[in-house]
């Protein structure tokens, strides 16, 4: 350090020396209350639509207009106009099938890109992940034509494949990021112990990546369950998902609002339940993409 000639420092020179009085503590408590009220206000804004839907799902058309009274007639109308149960089933089937494919495909590829790098794998990885940007609408019609040419549009298969393809880029990215976090030495140790890379993947990588798998499952479930366009397009009418069914119901002008509200409620509940149970995973999945 340079030798210091005594500089002319005047400590205390710059503050306006009039600190607030001891009511600062009171001010801080008030501040907290203001924040609390703000949070409540925002909560009302965010949650009101749910209340509206629940409230009006249990009315008849007349009650809806008057905005008073409750009944189950909305539900009756809903079930009359829409094969609710079977559509719920369809949604479930499609979700399960698509998620299964996504998981298989993304865990294997994610592991390969993260740990089994080969020449050009970086580019291939980029290719897969950038497919994220392909908007469904751009490929909608060619896709449909392709799939119907191989008769995949007369059953679940077509939709399942499309959902799987749409979900794979992000899922692969997520898995690759997660696998990168596993130390290379763990893999090498397994290889030294005599496992082939494929066995290492099955017996070591997969068990270690269960949290990421859970995250992808939750994310994709919500996305697929709530999706409209694929369900509308690639599924035959009698195998529609609940979301697609609800949407077509709403564009027909003959259905009463309470029925639609009831339909909304029914289609939203599974996703909400999944959300409530697996919140943590959802949040993790969202933010994991930012980490690296």
């Amino acid at each position: 350090m340079a030798t210091i000639p005594a500089p002319q420092y005047q400590p205390g020179g710059t503050t306006p020396r009039n600190p607030p009085s001891a009511s600062s503590r009171v001010r801080r408590t008030m501040h907290r209350w203001v924040l609390f009220i703000l949070m409540v206000v925002v909560a009302v804004v965010m949650l009101y639509p749910f209340w509206y839907i629940i409230d009006n799902a249990f009315r008849s058309a007349g009650q809806f207009d008057r905005q008073s009274g409750h009944s189950l007639s909305g539900w009756n109308q809903l079930f009359a106009n829409l094969p609710v149960a079977s559509e719920l089933l369809n949604s479930t089937l499609v979700c399960v099938a698509a998620i299964a494919i996504i998981l298989v495909v993304s865990t294997t590829a994610g592991f390969a890109f993260a740990k089994l790098r080969y020449r050009g794998s970086g580019m291939v990885f980029l290719l897969v992940v950038s497919a994220l940007m392909v908007p469904l609408q751009s490929i909608l019609f060619p896709e449909f034509v392709n799939l119907s040419n191989v008769s995949l549009t007369s059953s679940y298969a077509g939709a399942v494949l499309v959902y799987a393809a749409l979900g794979t880029p992000f899922a692969t990215f997520l898995m690759a990021t997660y696998y990168r976090g596993i130390s290379d030495e763990l893999i090498e140790a397994a290889v030294m112990d005599g496992l082939g890379y494929e066995r290492t993947f099955l017996q070591i990588a997969i068990p270690l990546s269960l949290p990421a798998i859970a995250t992808i499952t939750v994310l994709q479930f919500i996305q697929i369950w709530d999706d409209l366009l694929v369900g509308l397009f690639f599924l035959p009418t009698n195998q529609r998902t609940i979301t697609a069914g609800l949407a077509t119901l709403s564009t027909g002008r003959t259905t009463s609002v309470p029925a639609l509200m009831a339909g909304s409620l029914i289609s939203a509940i599974p996703a909400i339940v999944v959300y409530l149970i697996f919140q943590r995973h959802l949040i993790k999945g969202l933010t994991l993409g930012m980490g690296k």
């Binding site: 710059t14 306006p16 600190p19």
Partner: protein, 395 residues
């Protein structure tokens, strides 16, 4: 310049832990007071309360006589240097230092430039003014953190273990620079560290804290020679003071010269008359258990002649030597004393009652492992502590 006073300050966290218990401290104008203690002892919490970053549960903190408990940090006119330096990564060194001056208001641009330039010159940061923190070494970042505090010309500095993240050599160098800087600026400073060497070299006074309670506050020499309790005795000084559970017995006239005798295991050490005079309270412990302490540097090889040989004979104890550590300039020998060493209540679990004491020897010593050696005890430097309270037995 400012006086800072802590008056019965207590901090209790929402989960019930009491980090600071009724702390009384006064820092004089322009003084550098060091708060030292093991991790978790509450020293950083106390510092943060002075800064205003933590609420005071009870008690008063005053700056220049005015209570500041409810005053926000920004109005206290205090600058703080954080352990992690807290440099803004998106700003250059210059902007980091000028940051508060710019946004606090009240300082014209020209003066900002001048103050930053001056601080940069003093801290040898001039070549780095346009760099970002991540392009700097640890030592340089530390100096930027100091620079940021200096340019504010505050009433007081608060430093939270500013050297902990530096390597040993750099730490020693920066220690000296900080001491010099503080002396030149004359700004009141509270400095927190867990390193007792740092505390001893920096502070005009040092406050030893453990478990949120102030153990002793005094000048470094005082802490060394007259520790107020077992904690201070074992915390200050490296290697730590040897502490043994012993009994104080009445001496017979034959070997011990009539005065009280410290007895532990097979060993007897007579307490010299001047010590008895200085510690009249020892009377009360005759026939009772006590904890006796002697620093390694006050034990020597009885076989080596002392220069200027006319020294009164010192008591000698015979110890089997378990270990000899060569440090070049000195030698440490560990000798078994054949009884339990004093193990404090909050000692780590892996402290075994292996019952050895450490002695610091002249490197010429011939003491070897596996042999028994005669160790002379400078009994005038004996310390005594009450086994129940841990307090030093004074007059």
């Amino acid at each position: 310049m400012a006086r800072i006073e802590l008056d019965a300050v207590t901090k209790q966290f929402p989960d019930g832990t009491k980090a600071v218990r009724s702390l009384d401290l006064a820092v004089g104008d322009g003084e550098l007071l060091v708060l030292v203690g093991p991790s978790g002892c509450g020293k950083t919490t106390a510092l943060r309360m002075v800064a205003g970053l933590e609420d005071v549960t009870s008690g008063t903190i005053s700056i220049d006589g005015r209570a500041v408990n409810d005053v926000e940090p920004r109005h206290r006119d205090i600058a703080m240097v954080f352990q992690s330096y807290a440099l803004y990564p998106h700003l250059s060194v210059y902007d980091n230092m000028a940051f508060s001056l710019k946004y606090r208001g009240g300082v014209p641009k020209a003066e900002i430039r001048q103050r930053v330039a001056e601080a940069a010159r003093v801290l040898e940061l001039e070549p780095y003014l346009q760099r970002k923190p991540r392009q700097l070494s640890g030592g340089q970042r530390q100096r930027v953190a100091m620079g940021r505090a200096i340019v504010r010309q505050p009433r007081a500095f608060l430093m939270d273990e500013p050297l902990s993240n530096l390597d040993a050599k750099l730490r020693v160098q920066m220690r000296a620079e900080i001491a010099q800087l503080q002396r030149t600026l004359g700004t009141t400073t509270i400095y927190v560290t867990h390193d007792q060497t740092e505390a001893m070299t920096l502070g005009s006074r040092v406050a030893v804290i453990s478990g949120g309670v102030l153990q002793q506050i005094a000048a470094p020499q005082e802490l060394y020679r007259r520790p107020a309790n077992l904690f201070v005795a074992s915390f200050i000084g490296s290697p730590p003071m040897n502490l043994v559970d012993a009994r104080l017995e009445r001496g017979g006239s034959e070997t011990d010269g009539g005065g009280p005798v410290v007895v532990f295991g097979p060993h007897r050490i007579g307490v010299p008359a001047e010590v008895v005079t200085e510690h009249p309270a020892l009377e009360r412990y005759l026939g009772e258990p006590i904890v006796a302490g002697i620093r390694p540097e006050h034990l020597r090889d009885a076989a080596l002649t002392v220069d200027g040989g006319d020294r009164p004979a010192q008591p000698v104890i015979e110890l089997p030597i378990k270990l000899r550590e060569e440090l070049g300039s000195e030698v440490f020998v560990h000798g078994a004393i054949g009884t339990a060493a004093h193990v404090s209540d909050d000692a780590a679990d892996d402290v075994r009652s292996l019952a050895t004491i450490v002695a610091k020897m002249d490197p010429r010593t011939q003491i070897a492992e596996g042999k028994t050696a005669a160790i002379a005890v400078d009994a005038a430097r004996l310390q005594f502590f009450d086994p129940a309270t841990g307090a030093s037995i004074r007059g």
